[in-house]
């Protein structure tokens, strides 16, 4: 059941949708406009900053890291999604729950755990040195940053691809199997072309995450644009703002390229069937489990083990520790705050970006593309810049002022920052709802809203939930905007982890991190994973 959609054709955007897209677009221009204004206000010598030698090197690092992480994450994310959704991989219900979770580690926690684990004299070294292993690979610099970011960002690819696969009719794969093709051939010739959109969407997010990451690159000593923005932010503000603009520019170029590639691509609309297909892995069954176990062992179990070790050491220590709270009960409210912020932001973000995704995917609208670019660029700007832009727009505004440092405005900051994660997944979701079905419903007399609610929305659900899941997990670990804009007393697990690490309370931070992982696991299962499977 594959049909080519009318590629390239442009249908006029309905007025109401156009208006909605325009409003949403203006909203997302906010942070970018702030960066531009700051550059003008500070009189930044933009050309001078961008082309000086100490900018070129970090720029090269950012691009190289972004591309490398995007490539490795898309390979791993896609492979893992196919194995867990489509095959008879043993224990796949468990793997489906575990696979999206590494996204929830704040990257500084992941990097710290990796260094404690693998650095010379670290835990692994202590375990291996009696066995005669004397030197471990150096994890600092590019190698470490690439590894950490790959381990913790591949879910950006995994979730959209898994959602796409679970919405995909298995008929083609079945035919291919009946014609005697092996699992790998089926994957390459049937599955890959159908999931390409989702893979692209995910890798773009990974790229943007990698170029805007601060935690892992500073801890692992890899000098990127974002690292420079952070070190210049207070005492060399013109340069920091010029670099932020450059980062935003890089994001826009990448979005533009991605859209251009996307436009030339053939659209494949697929209707769904409820018959689940399971590819039998045969003799690849156990090697596949081993590969998945080794990978998730490193991405999830490794950090959890290190955190668990720290927590256990702190909790079992009988020292009268100064300022060391390891009381799990005190984490209850932060956990509630994190969960509430994550859920709310996920719902709002999906609702806000859906019209834009609809306009770009359905109508190939230029207005939609422009709005989309701004949404995506918001993900590349460092969180602290997003937060400051909101201060700038809200502090003097007549109505917004009253909402300053309240929950609604904090959610706005999260949506501005993470909207991109929902929009890319939403576009994939819109692609998954064939126009034909809506048209058929229309000929049967169904009104626009009814069509949307009864036909299109259910078809888009897996994709939208994947997007919502990404936004939720990202929000729960967000730090800079939370610290600056949350209502006073609105501690989250992320701020608890940060506070503990700031005061050197390793055990306390580890306990909070473990609670964050547990809450994320429960929420992703309840809100996203269980439902993706049910659709």
């Amino acid at each position: 059941m594959v049909s080519n959609a009318d590629r390239g054709s442009r249908v006029r955007l309905p007025h109401s949708l156009a208006a909605a897209v325009a409003v949403i677009g203006v909203f997302f221009v906010g942070p970018f406009a702030y960066v531009v204004w700051r550059n003008v206000d500070l009189g930044t010598d933009l050309g001078g900053v961008v082309f000086e030698s100490r900018t070129i090197e970090p720029l090269r690092h950012s691009l190289w890291l972004g591309i490398a992480v995007a490539v490795s994450s898309s390979v791993i994310g896609t492979g893992l999604a196919w194995l867990t959704i489509r095959t008879d991989l043993p224990g796949r219900a468990f793997w489906r729950l575990a696979a999206p979770l590494p996204l929830v580690f704040p990257s500084f926690v992941g990097a710290t755990a990796l260094m404690a684990g693998f650095a010379s004299g670290g835990l692994v070294d202590e375990i291996l040195s009696p066995l005669g292993v004397s030197s471990l690979p150096d994890m600092r610099g590019f190698r470490g940053a690439w590894l950490v970011l790959t381990l913790f960002t591949y879910p950006y690819v995994y979730l959209p691809v898994a959602a796409r696969l679970s919405a995909l009719a298995p008929s083609l794969e079945e035919s291919a199997r009946l014609l005697g093709r092996g699992p790998w051939a089926v994957f390459r010739t049937v599955v890959l072309p159908q999931t390409r959109n989702a893979i692209w969407a995910g890798s773009l997010l990974v790229f943007l995450y990698a170029v805007s990451d601060f935690g892992a690159v500073t801890l692992l000593g890899y000098d990127t644009l974002t690292e420079q923005i952070y070190s210049d932010k207070l005492f060399d503000q013109p340069r920091a703002m010029a670099l932020a603009l450059l980062l935003g520019g890089v994001a826009l170029v990448v979005v533009f390229v991605e859209r251009a590639v996307d436009r030339r691509r053939q659209r494949i609309e697929i209707s769904r069937s409820r018959n689940a297909l399971t590819v039998e892995l045969g003799r690849w069954r156990w090697p596949s489990v081993a590969a998945v176990a080794v990978f998730l062992g490193n991405a999830l179990l490794g950090p959890i083990a290190v955190l668990g070790f720290w927590a256990w050491r702190g909790l079992s220590s009988d020292l009268e520790s100064v300022g060391l709270r390891t009381d799990v009960g005190s984490l209850f409210m932060p956990a509630v705050h994190s969960a509430a912020a994550g859920l709310l932001t996920a719902v709002v973000a999906v609702a806000v970006v859906l019209p834009v995704a609809w306009a770009t995917a359905r109508y190939r609208s230029r207005l939609g593309s422009a709005a989309n670019s701004m949404i995506v660029a918001g993900f590349a700007l460092p969180g602290v810049v997003i937060a400051l832009s909101l201060v700038f727009w809200a502090i003097d505004a007549p109505v917004l002022q009253r909402w300053y440092q309240t929950l609604p405005l904090l959610i706005v900051a999260y949506v501005l920052h993470f909207g991109a994660q929902a929009t890319r997944a939403a576009q994939v979701a819109v692609d998954a709802a064939p126009r034909r079905l809506g048209d058929a419903a229309a000929t049967l007399g169904a009104g626009r809203l009814r069509r949307f609610a009864t036909v299109e929305l259910p078809l888009m659900m897996p994709g939208l939930l994947a997007g919502a899941g990404l936004v939720m997990l990202s929000t729960m670990k967000e730090l800079p905007a939370t610290l600056l804009l949350a209502p006073i007393g609105f501690d989250t697990l992320a701020t608890e982890i940060w506070g503990a690490s700031d005061s050197g309370a390793l055990a306390q931070g580890a306990v909070a991190s473990l609670v964050l992982v547990a809450v994320s696991a429960v929420l992703s299962w309840a809100v996203v994973i269980r439902r993706i499977e049910n659709y």
Partner: protein
Amino acid sequence: MRRTLFRSVWVALAIALAAAACGSNAPSESTITLYSGRSQDLIQPLLNDFTDQTGIRVEPRYGDSAELALLLQAEGDKSPADVVISQSPGALGLLAGEGRLAVLATDITQRVDPGFVASDNTWVGITGRVRVVVYNSELVSADQLPASVLDLVDPKYAGKVGVAPNNGSFQDFVTAMRNELGDSETSRWLTGMADNESPNYPKNSAIVEAVGRGEIDMGLVNHYYNLRALENDPSVPSINYFLPADDVGSLVIVTGGAVLASSDSPDAAQQLLVWLLSDAAQAEFAAQTQEYPLVEGIDAPAGLPPLGGLAVDTIDYALLGDGLSGTIELIRASGIER
């Protein structure tokens, strides 16, 4: 299916509203807002004591000192903050330079040595942390330790001394060195450290961890990170070495407090600083956070050398704020950032 989705949205909304309701109380006249670069664990008990004694409620926003300074800068006169506490004198200097800080009453500024007060009396030091050399006692014996931080450029220390050139306290230390020895000698020292290929770390705690693991022999840090590390794991072989008192390497970096010029309750705001500089609060700092109290007559934390022996009054703290952009240029030019 849709029903369950909508239901989870409503549940989330309800939880969030309930949570927001718990977190916020109507501000009264006796409520002040504090932006604190000092983390919750290290200051909340003192804030509670302050409220008990004065009836003034404190609403604290915790964050990174530099980011809170940026926030205050962006908020301008509309800032809800009344008091700011910063771990970085540089960030306070920046705010003072922009006219955002009020002049403090003399009963506050006279509590501490003039060396710990901004030259325009806009901020005051509350506690201090001392720059030390942390070393791994399994790799380094006591007689291999330098007599001065200036000796670390000796080739025998090549590759062995961890530094955090992008970290605020390293920058403060370099500013002090400029103040003490002049730019050209400071530059020579930085270049020497660069030639020695001193390993870079993002922050103090990372250096302490690396020394503890034996990844490097020693590192330049603030004194209390190692004390924290030992609390987490007493078996770690990392030891703080306090440089001689007259050495520029033994700089005291203050955590400072200030009142915002835009505060609508300046009296209550100044009262908080009065409390933090009271004998009781200062003794509490020494006992609980192992930082040096700055008020005279209060003992240093147990087991640490007394602050009086360290060269504190020779450093002009005003320069630590104003001179920071010059310091960053010197650090960058030296090539110590790797």
